[in-house]
């Protein structure tokens, strides 16, 4: 990655399916990842529901786009920050989230978790480090 790469954070604060924000946001991340930027994602408020395990839209005639999050690692989107308080407010813990991993090319392609549960202070610090913050 070049030194000129800008740091982008995509902030997701909406649940999947009820509105199109989550799907559109995910598509933008995948498109943006082609441009060799330093991309991370934050999941806050109802956005944490996007990462819930076991999504199944068979009976509701909607596209289940949750498997797409598994592709993020291959696009070098390997930092998915999840707000701890938002999880707790919704009765969720790390075990309720999809098992998302990436292969670390700097470490013999070992599989590592992409999801990192962060506190409000860590999240605030991360936002301050970005060049661009985009919200969905």
């Amino acid at each position: 990655m070049s030194d000129a790469a800008k740091k982008f954070m995509y902030v997701n604060r909406r649940a999947p399916y009820g509105t199109v924000y989550a799907l559109e946001g995910l598509e933008v991340v995948l498109i943006g990842a082609a441009f060799d930027q330093d991309v991370c994602m934050a999941f806050i408020d109802d956005g944490v529901f996007q990462l819930k395990k076991g999504q199944d839209t068979k009976d509701s005639n909607m596209k289940n786009f949750s498997p797409t999050y598994r592709a993020l690692g291959d696009y070098e989107v390997t930092k998915l920050y999840v707000d701890k308080e938002s999880l707790e407010q919704r009765g969720l813990g790390e075990d309720d989230l999809m098992d998302l991993t990436y292969e670390d090319e700097d470490d013999d392609y070992n599989e590592k978790p992409s999801i990192r549960i962060v506190s409000r202070d860590e999240l605030a610090d991360l936002m301050e480090q970005q060049d661009v913050i985009l919200n969905y």
Partner: protein, 100 residues
């Protein structure tokens, strides 16, 4: 860092999440339906008064006017800016976080 909020605090949690994650010293601009948070005597007034201790809070004048909110109804300390002020705030910030 400039944070903007364009949703009513009575409908969405954008204000709450912004206040939870914005660092003290940041600027917060209320615009569109976000300006309802700037009004005195509401259920969120206490929250805003507290926020004014940590942040500089602005409200967009044309959006207040559109909603019939007179400036004397605003919580003390909230600064009213026009579109030019909005541009200045954005231009003088390293980054902008719009809490949709």
């Amino acid at each position: 860092m400039l944070h903007t909020i364009n949703k009513s605090p009575f409908e969405k949690n954008s204000l709450d999440t912004c206040l939870r994650l914005a660092k003290p010293g940041s600027e917060i601009l209320l615009l569109e339906d976000g300006v309802y948070a700037a009004v005195k005597g509401t259920a969120v007034e206490q929250k805003m008064v507290q926020a004014l201790g940590d942040y500089t809070v602005y409200a967009l004048g044309p959006d207040l006017k559109a909603r019939g909110i007179e400036e004397d109804r605003l919580i003390d300390g909230v600064e009213v800016v026009g579109y030019d002020g909005f541009v200045d705030l954005a231009a003088n910030s390293d980054r902008v976080q719009s809490w949709l």
